[in-house]
Amino acid sequence: MKKIFWLLVLLALLVGGCTDNNTEQDKLQVTASFYPMAEFARAIGGERAQVTMLVPDGAEPHDWEPSPRDLTKIGRSQLFVYNGLVEPWAEQALQAVAERKVLAVQAGRGLYENGGKQDPHVWISPKKAMIEVERITDAFCEADAANAAYYQENSRKYLAQLQELDRQMQEIAAAAQKRVFITSHAAFGHLAADYGLRQLAVSGLSPQAEPTPADLQRLAGIVKREQVDYIFFETLSDPRIAKVLAKETGVQTAVLDPLEGLSEEGRKENLDYIKIMQRNIDNLKLALAVQ
């Protein structure tokens, strides 16, 4: 009997010690799958929404899986924002909390098609990011109609910043002397396609796809033929291959951030989607020799 008693005490301590009380309950509760979705949701929700990002910064959203606790967070929220395709777990997660009537918005739906392939990285193109932001705004207004005017105002301000990025990209499209850029993983296909550029990736759509020696050979050939000056690597995945290729072919490297999550450095410097995209665009200007 004594043993049972102690087990019960332990259990009570565990359960009691871990319950958290929600202090921000009057705000609209929003869960967002990973960084750009959370950023868009925060921009729209402003002070009147509590946005919880599920995939932590630094984790690969392709590989992440929600824990029961994360599912509870989704179930508690009124609105769940996700991109689609990047989150293979989203559908099952929504099914698990089906009773909760969480409003789900798949911000990237119908935008993935790119050159005959389904490419989930739509947020990287300012044009498509604007569509995503508009859809998320609509969902905010539906979930919390009382504050619709507020959300729309925030959304307008944010869209203006995206429009500025879009304008700069169009400038690149008009003035670039080179059309080809090389990246470490194929996350920038939509950015390239929407602005008349061509992305060549060292590895495939998933950051884990390893390039074969033949791929590298082929890329080295392209570097020479297209007279590429820069090879881009990204912050979250292994830059080794891009660096090897750069060394082999004698070109320079620069960072092109696919914005799947903020890096440690990005958090410290208080960077956000707009600032990082601005950096990406500046680096693209350099690589594509925009006068």
Partner: protein, 288 residues
Amino acid sequence: MLEIFEMEFMQRAWIAGMIMAVICPLIGSFLVLRRQSLIGDGLGHIAFAGVAAGALGGYSPVISAAVATVLGALAIERVRSRLAASAEMILAIFFYCGMGLAVVFTSINKEGGFNLGSILFGSLMTVSGSDLLIVAVLGLCTILFVALYYRPLQYLTFDEVSARVAGLPVDKLNMLLAVLTALTVALSMRIVGLLLVSAMMVIPVACALQTAKSFASTILQSIFYGLVSVVLGLVISYYANLAPGGTIVLTETALFIGSIFFGRKKTGLQKPQQHHCHICEEEKANEG
């Protein structure tokens, strides 16, 4: 309400987990004492083949796993009763055959269709309402079966040969036990996953063998240990963000280690095991 009970999917996981915590040790008590501790593990492998085949043919993983394990269990049981001397070897061959089939089916299947991780290691979020219903019905059937045939099953467990001589329907009971084992394995994969199913059948019974003094109390105590480990495992895994299946099994293992010390202090050390061993020797003598 406590966060851990707040969501419906967790409520379903709790109910399914509790039912499993009762029926796994219930069935497991017979298996362990018959020296068939590993049969659940083997059936888990065969269930994996069933899931992989089901994904190919577009069937629900629970249904295809149930069909595969029942067929596998019946075949193993048949072989066990005919070729008792090499039962272990035959069982091993069934494991490998199941694993081989699973690997082959998975390699044929290019489209995926099932989440390998959640099948092998369990996934609480996949327990659906209909899963729960099936688990509840199975639980009821298992408890009824054991309650109705308790005496014959006990006889059979300790001495199959004399049970047969005494005119008990040994083959029929063996078949029923095998089928229930198979279904339990197939259904508990949602909670702990196929690789750890067998632990829920074996470890609580191993704990009970250290502390219980009779066969009946072994069964009851093993259910108690099963329930404790599922409750603790689910709570710990939820708040510490650990894999639920693994946490449940490790909790069981910790209970087992505890039960060794606890059991030693008390009288009647490992009585059921001694009894069991005595029977084994008799069996061996008979076989020889």
